[in-house]
Every structure is written in C-alpha cells, then in structure tokens.
Amino acid sequence: MVTAEQVWDALAEIPDPEIPVISLVDLGVIRSVDVAGEQVRVEFTPTFLGCPALEVMRDAMTDRIAALGAEPEVRVITDDSWSTDRITPEGREKLRASGFAPPAPRENGGPQLVQLQSKAFRCPYCGSRDTALENIFGPTPCRSVRYCRSCRQPFEQFKTI
C-alpha cells in the first residue's frame, strides 16, 4: 500500500513544465495529498489560470501516482489559495541559481507599478539592485523581464502574485 509520504516524494520529482529547475512541490501548487486504501487524491492549484502547463502537470501527477500502484484522482482547485509566497525556500534558491529572480514577498494590497519601477529587485547573476523594469510581461505569464545595469544582463523576474 502506498503512503502519503511516497506520493509527496514522487510529486517532488515532477519538474514544472515551463521552469524545469523546480518541482511541483517546490512551486507550492500541491495543496493536499489524501490516501485512502488504493485511492490517492491530490488537490492542486494552478499558478496562473491561463497557464498551458496545467494539463501537463495534471497528467504527470496522474502518471506518477499510477506508477506507484495507486488509483489517482487529481483535482484542480481554482480558489485563491496559491500565491508566489507558497514557493518553498528551496524552490526560490533553485530559481535564483538558474537565472530566474525569485518573486518578492507579497505585501498587503498586492504589487504596485511604482515598486516594479524601483530598484528593489536583485539581479540573480551578480546580486546588484541596480536593475530596471524592461517589460511587465515575459515569456510566460508568471514572469517579467528586467535588466541589470551592473552586469549588463537581462534577466527574468518571477512576478509576485
């Protein structure tokens, strides 16, 4: 019989389809794992509602759980429980190490344009705060593009949501 711990370990091996340096567990999108006999129920929250990786993630979870010999039920929960604050400290470090600046903590009232235009964001390559907003939007909905004036390198900034 499969245990919840085995399921969590299996899910921790599934990479985010668009940012494969971090796993679904690092990303904080797995809300719960419930094991009842052969049945395993996983609840997960999308990061962004229009994220095309949603189906890929759901299918990958279903396959991994089935590979453990259990019957998977993966439920997508579109409530407000996911925020970038749920990315784990390990996940944040993995992002930074691969050139994605991790999201700033969410403050009351949410992000403001004046903050994005400030120098509060650190370059993931050289650590300088002398960085400028290039574009609020980037290669996927969850990222912005910034430019580091210190090491003259553009980089991707995970949006705070």
Binding site: D79, L113, E134, N135, I136, P141, I161
Partner: protein, 188 residues
C-alpha cells in the same frame, strides 16, 4: 450569481482575449507583442474558469458555452467586440477602460456569498493587477495625446452596452469557431 451574469464576465474575457491576441506579431514594439499576447492568454484562462462555473449550473461544458452559441447569444460588452487593430491609441484606451471596470466588478465578486466564485474572483484579481499596471503605464505615457483622450471619451460609454451585437463580433466568431465547426465530434 446567475449563470447569465457569469456568461457576461466569461464572454467579456474570451472576446477581449481574442482581440488582444490580434496584436501578436504586429504591435508597435516587441515588448507590446509580448504584453498583449500574455494578457490575452490570461483573459482566456479566466474565461475558461468562469465558463466552467457557468457550465455546471447550466448542465453543459465550458467549450460548448465558449464556442457553440451563435454570435448573437454572446453577452459581452460592445467595448470588447470592437476590432481596433491597427489603432494603438484606441487599443490602449479600451485597455484602460476595461481594466478599470473589471477591477470594480472583481472587487464586488470577491465579497460574494458564493465561496467558489469569491475565491475565483480573488485569484483572477491577482493576475489582473499586472494588466492594470500595464494599462496605468500606458495611460501615463499617453496622457497628453489627443487621440488617446478622444478614444477614452468614445469608449467609456460602451462598457455596459451588452444588447448590441456588432458585425465585427460575427466575423470574429467565424474565425474563433472555425476549427471546432470544421471537425465533427472534435472535443476541443
């Protein structure tokens, strides 16, 4: 909330998403190709989640609601029906007008007694915050531009006009549903 009101929201987001995607590849600068494509992707994602809520109430599916109604059954605002390419000033004016109205609507829905709807509205709002920042940035840039200000005055009254169906909505519908209509039994 009634399924009809949910459809108003979902239709607004779907049609605006399509309109925004018309800038993909031809926006005045590369950054805006990326921005409008990304905003389009978000809006269509919101539409899908809203259609799913409505579909459960109506005993149908999100895809059927999005693509199997006739153009005159859509409940979207006249604001989002307009085909504005290649007019950048009016596109930005619509963006500003829509995001402002959408913010008010989402604020009200976040306080809804229906927990599922309130939660979804709050999730949508987290993403919309970035659309609003983008609109704000452009509104500041174009603040002294007469074409932008004329467009604001022209478009503001259209937000709540839902009973009129412009011919260009029918043209968009043809394009939007073409694949689905051409493949019998397709499940997308």
């Amino acid at each position: 909330m009634s399924a009809q009101r949910l459809l108003e929201l979902a239709d607004d987001e779907l049609i605006l998403g399509w309109r925004n995607s018309e800038w993909t590849g031809i926006a005045p600068m590369l950054e805006e190709d990326v921005a409008f494509s990304s905003i389009a992707q978000n809006e269509i994602g919101h539409a899908r989640a809203l259609y799913e809520l409505a579909a459960r109430e109506l005993g149908t599916t999100a895809d059927e609601l999005a693509f199997d109604r006739s153009p005159d059954e859509y409940r979207c605002s006249k604001l989002v029906q307009l085909q504005l390419v290649p007019d950048w000033a009016r596109t930005i004016a619509r963006h500003v007008v829509y995001e402002r109205a959408d913010q008010q609507r989402l604020e009200a829905l976040k306080g809804s007694d229906e927990a599922e709807l309130a939660g979804l509205a709050a999730k949508i709002d987290r993403e919309e915050a970035y659309h609003r920042m983008h609109a704000q940035m452009w509104a500041e840039r174009l603040a002294d531009e007469p074409r932008f200000n004329e467009a604001l005055a022209e478009l503001e009254p259209l937000v709540d006009a839902r009973d009129e169906h412009l011919p260009e909505l029918g043209e968009l519908w043809e394009e939007m549903t073409m694949v689905r209509r051409s493949v019998a039994g397709a499940t997308w």
